[in-house]
């Protein structure tokens, strides 16, 4: 369960003071995969980072029951000077999982070949995405925070993601940001629509998509 209590966060840069979430209270129950919808720049990625805990709220609280992943973007959270293998090893160490096992799993999943032992800075975006996706799927989380990651990669990769996700989603939930409503509909049961600093929860993802599309037509 993830619970937001009067959560408030403003984006502040050079005189801009825009609410991302403003006094939001919301409960996301276990067992539901949630799609996060909102217009460009609404702050969907920031919300994911808030849920992950990499950035802090201005006020209010986020309570997490269960292990929450880092926000999974296609950029990856990789150190460009380290090799793919070193990055994987680092993650294994900070999450306290078996290093050998995780390396084997990711090496097999990401299909990077010799590039696995080359600096991540030399990777293409597809390679990064494969590494990022494989890495996070190798660690067991209750919640996977996914930011547009399935948008990258070829059909083969997408199929692979889908397969591994389906087996993972048996025991875990996903909170997903994507501009593709098809992807959201594929992966998620419920939806949250972000608009003007407010979050609206819809139990059925179809309702959420309808509401989001309505918002998009307004402006």
């Amino acid at each position: 369960m993830i619970r937001l209590e009067q959560a408030t966060k403003f984006a502040r840069t050079r005189g801009i003071n825009k609410p991302i979430i403003d006094g939001v209270s919301l409960v996301l129950e276990r067992g539901k995969s949630i799609g996060l919808l909102g217009r460009n720049g609404a702050g969907k990625s920031t919300l994911l980072r808030l849920i992950a805990g990499t950035i802090r709220l201005d006020s209010g609280k986020i309570i997490r029951r269960g292990k929450v992943s880092w926000p999974l973007g296609f950029q990856g959270s990789f150190q460009a000077t380290m090799t793919g293998e070193q990055n994987v090893r680092f993650v294994a160490r900070i999450y306290g999982v078996d290093t050998r096992e995780l390396i084997d799993y990711v090496e097999d999943f990401a299909e990077l070949g010799p590039f696995f032992k080359a600096p991540v800075g030399t990777y293409s975006s597809g390679m990064r995405a494969r590494l990022a996706f494989g890495l996070s799927m190798g660690v067991n989380f209750d919640y996977y925070l996914v930011d547009e990651i399935t948008a990258v990669g070829d059909a083969n990769f997408k199929k692979k993601c889908r397969a591994v996700f389906d087996s993972r989603l048996q025991g875990s939930d996903v909170i997903m940001v994507s501009h593709s409503t098809t992807t959201i509909r594929d992966y998620c049961d419920s939806g949250v629509v972000m608009e003007n600093g407010k979050l609206t929860y819809y139990d059925d993802i179809a309702d959420a998509i309808r509401a989001h599309n309505g918002n998009m037509k307004e402006r």
Partner: protein, 273 residues
């Protein structure tokens, strides 16, 4: 709430904070390995360079000054005189220059929620401290082993100088991690102020030799005291006029205190520019 519940709640709190400590330790050790790979694993020779660099430096100073003067300002061994000065200085200088980019060099790893900015500083601190200690033991050990009459070491002054120097380095490093990001101009100013420290901290002269009004100015620099204190551990006969460890410790503690406050108040800035 029954007393039993209270105990339960207290224990849960304790378990949670213990969990935090365990996570920090895990993250710091992972960062430590990553930093070692980056620093020593990327070029052939690896660790040897960490030793060769200061050793060569002391050698160059020795050759240069032996040509000018007959004896060093203290004792009879040029290498020992320069090595004691240079290595004591390195506990501050090498620390600061390595710590300055601690957060910046690990920025992408901060997108993992359990990696905190302070972990990157702690990891670099541990690595630099052990590196300088190793350098000190090897370089000074070699020099004293070659001397006809090896000096009798007194450990208390040596350890005092080492802790004061590296504490100062940690404090300044914490401040710089924040300020370099916040005010790019400060980075330039810091470079201008920090560079001459090498010349004025008493690595190749003794502040004792400077006439009074100017000596007091030189003694304002806490690093002068660090180096003086370090040398008293090697030279029995060294009187170290004007040495004031109270001043040095106060300076170091205040810097560290200010650095910690600034650093923890700037977590948002450090995580995402």
């Amino acid at each position: 709430m029954t007393p039993n519940d209270v105990v339960c709640v207290l224990l849960q709190g304790k378990a949670a904070s213990l969990g935090h400590v365990v996570t920090h330790m895990r993250v710091v050790s992972a960062l430590l390995i990553r930093e070692m790979e980056a620093r020593f694993g990327s070029k052939p020779g690896g660790y040897v360079w960490a030793l060769l660099d200061p050793a060569a430096h002391v050698l160059v100073l020795t050759i240069a000054f032996q040509a000018i003067a007959r004896t060093p300002a203290l004792g009879t061994s040029f290498p020992l005189f320069f090595a004691t000065g240079y290595i004591a200085f390195q506990f501050y200088q090498a620390m600061v220059s390595y710590l300055n980019a601690a957060v910046k060099a690990n920025r992408s790893l901060l997108s993992y929620p359990n990696v905190a900015p302070i972990d990157t500083v702690v990891a670099r601190y541990v690595l630099q401290f052990t590196t300088t200690i190793t350098v000190a033991v090897v370089v000074l050990g070699t020099i004293t082993a070659w001397m006809r009459v090896p000096p009798e070491l007194s450990w208390l002054p040596i350890l005092e100088a080492v802790s004061a120097g590296s504490m100062l380095g940690l404090g300044v490093g914490l401040i710089n991690n924040v300020m370099f990001v916040k005010y790019p101009l400060y980075e330039k100013v810091f470079g201008i102020v920090n560079r001459p420290l090498y010349m004025i901290s008493g690595i190749f002269f003794l502040p004792d030799m400077i006439p009074p009004p100017y000596r007091d100015i030189v003694l304002l620099n806490p690093l002068v005291h660090v180096i003086m204190r370090f040398r008293t551990g090697f030279y029995d006969e060294y009187r170290a006029i004007g040495l004031d460890m109270g001043y040095t410790y106060t300076f170091a503690f205040l810097t560290l205190f200010f650095g910690m406050i600034l650093f923890s108040a700037s977590s948002t800035l450090l995580r995402n520019e």
